[in-house]
């Protein structure tokens, strides 16, 4: 009985979706998995940083060596002189467990997305700037439009614009690989098998500092990304990324 009702319910929906969705199911699922993992990595990563909010350059560094820079925050460790009179509670246990579990889900999701993106032509079609856009003129024109917070062009609802494409390429092919690489460079076991992971960066502490800076770049991207989605119409764009709202029938 319930089965029949369910089937009947589905019919009109299926009939309405004759056009391709704005985002394919794979893009939608990997997008939100990445979102959840990134937020988990961010929160747990900041918890870990709080235990030693000092950064160094080179191979080794500790409270007896000069810092490259320190964050003006209290620490969760009494051994770190921060200038604050109190020590935050230690949260590194669950933070580390969560950080690495989220990292695995993110890497597996990213692997799936990139494999699909290459094999399906998604990257070539939707991320690589169109041939007419591959010039400094086109880029500066699009960039100025963004800086002026100009209303998005109508075409932007159907495909990614030039600045968007370049930003996504930067995040997918530069920042995420870098954050994974610098993270692995801090693993004493991994670098025992592949020492060049860390030696090419100038040492363990350089890797840690870069890991932090790349993570902050990803946070900057996230903030701009959400701001842009907001300007373009938060409800419509978020719904498109959840349900894949069909191209036809603009709201």
């Amino acid at each position: 009985m319930a089965e029949t009702a369910w089937s009947v319910d589905r019919l009109p929906t299926v009939a309405a979706r004759t056009e391709a969705p704005r985002h394919t199911a794979l893009v939608r699922v990997t997008h939100w998995l990445t979102t959840v993992c990134f937020l988990a990595l961010l929160v747990s990563g900041l918890e870990i940083v709080v235990s030693h909010p000092r950064f160094y350059w080179g191979e080794s560094g500790n409270v007896l060596t000069p810092a490259l820079f320190s964050l003006p925050i209290p620490s969760s460790r009494a051994t770190v002189p921060t200038g604050y009179g109190y020590v935050l509670p230690d949260q590194n246990g669950w933070s580390r467990y969560l950080h690495f579990e989220a990292a695995w889900v993110l890497v597996l999701t990213g692997g799936l997305y990139v494999t699909w993106g290459v094999s399906s032509g998604h990257f070539r079609r939707n991320l690589l700037p169109a041939a007419s856009d591959r010039s400094m003129r086109a880029f500066s024109r699009a960039f100025v439009r963004h800086l002026r917070f100009a209303r998005p062009l109508a075409a932007d609802a159907w495909s990614y614009n030039l600045v968007q494409r370049l930003a996504y390429i930067l995040v997918i092919f530069v920042l995420f690989p870098l954050v994974i690489w610098t993270g692995l460079a801090m693993s004493p076991a991994f670098v025992s098998a592949v020492p060049s992971t860390v030696t090419s960066l100038g040492g363990r502490q350089s890797a840690r500092t870069l890991h932090f800076l790349v993570s902050m770049s990803l946070v900057a991207f996230l903030l701009v990304h959400v701001a842009m989605v907001w300007l373009a119409g938060f409800g419509t764009r978020v719904r498109a990324m959840i349900t894949g709202a069909p191209k036809t029938g603009p709201e």
Partner: protein
Amino acid sequence: MSTVSRRTMIRRGLAAAAGLSGLAVAERIADRFGLVPPDHGGIYGPGETLTYAAQRLLTRYSLAREFSRSQISSPPFANEIAPPSDHFKRLQADGFKDWRLSVEGLVAQPASLSLDDVKRFPARRQITEIACEEGWSYVAEWVGTPLVDVLRAAGIMPQARYVVYFSIEKAWWDSVDMADALHPQTLLAYAMNGGDLPVAFGGPLRLRVPRQLGYKSVKFINRLAVTDSLQPFGKGLGSAAPEGGYAWYAGI
């Protein structure tokens, strides 16, 4: 319509069952090859198991990085330690001549070694980095007896899967699998940077496990137990670390 959906559901059910039994088989095989950490339960278990299994497959024989003398950190940083017990202080006042390292469990000849006995083995000298899970690190030269030599002398049995090591400070104990226990760089360290290993750095005897983070290098070691199961120790999670919320495997 309903026939199609029933068929779809059956197909999905079969796929799910195949997936689950595939996972179960994978876990059996992984456990057989020593790729499942003792703290594999709970919501973080899958991530921990993936990390441990992947790193074990990659690093069974790899050597920790060693450094040149010019890269030794000066001065090194001694992390805070609890004030030593009266028992420890009495041993220290005597220059640790009554310090004993007991070797027990799955060995043919259990032993109780003095520091001099430990030092009688061929020494290994290595300049490695110790990195704390908090983020800081230092490079130092450690001298010690490879754990593998002490285990071989005691006649380690073939069914051994882990070596559990205990600090004289009861709250601290940990364990490593055989890949780390038999690893040439895993040292019972008794000297550091050209002198005896200072108490602040775990003297008179610290187990140095350079392919894992600092907290696996437990200070004040006085007992080794070779075992085929971690169940009888503490809560069965392999070390004091998971009981305090930290991962047993600290290769990352």
